[in-house]
Symmetry: C2
Subunit: 144 residues, 2 copies
């Protein structure tokens, strides 16, 4: 946790971005919640601690947190951008149940490697990649 906050502090310094209580609070809430949060989710959580913090501030803060490399944007295709932890979290894909909406994070080094090979083949310099597998989870398999 603390390391992540240091990274954030250094990022702010490097970019000439000021410290603020609000941003610290938002970062704390984000770091202590291991979920895929939308901006509104995060806003509601932050509200519980400091009800004065506005939506716009949360929105701007999570953007900075992303830029600092601590969050990653994920898109489950439901019209809302979500943010997940990036620091010390392996790159992974998502397996999303189209019935109940639940998802699993999956990591496969072999796929990662093949993706890089693919990029090389097309003389592409890869920066990041996404992978989503949509389907039905075990529980929903039997449902209609």
């Amino acid at each position: 946790m603390e390391m992540a906050k240091q990274i954030f502090t250094f990022y702010l310094r490097d970019e000439g971005i000021r410290y603020s209580q609000q941003r610290e609070c938002i970062l704390d809430v984000f770091l202590s919640t291991e979920k895929h949060l939308t901006v509104i989710d995060l806003y509601h959580l932050v509200q519980k601690k400091h009800s004065g913090i506005g939506y716009a501030t949360v929105y701007r803060a999570i953007k900075i947190i992303s830029q600092a490399g601590l969050a990653r944007e994920v898109d489950f295709g439901d019209g809302m951008l979500r943010f997940e932890h990036k620091y010390k979290h392996e790159h992974h894909g998502h397996m999303i149940c189209t019935k109940c909406g639940k998802f699993i994070e999956v990591v496969d080094p072999q796929i990662e490697e093949l993706q890089e090979k693919l990029a090389r083949k097309y003389k592409f310099t890869p920066q990041r990649h996404k992978m989503q597998i949509y389907g039905t989870c075990e529980k929903c398999k039997t449902k209609v």
Copy 2:
């Protein structure tokens, strides 16, 4: 081409959806354009043939075309949904240049297989999957 139109016709019949000139025109335009079209793109193309067709009709038609299994939604993360051909088009991923926006369709059977293996491992019944690799293409590599 004709086969795709037949699939569409049968889909309409099965679903009890009526025939209409507009829908036929929209399907024709879609099938004859090998691009990743947004709804607005498609609307503009359709306008050239039948200027009376409205945006909402195009929007509704491409949804039906997707449901019929002839189009697939793709999301490049630029805020607009795109549609690409699905019928007789291998499943593929996309390699997207973050500088110029160009993209390449990539197919890798090995990755496909690993994805299925991954799904099996988690007792997931896969329906579809997406893969995007973001990076810089050869031309943009040297640019600042």
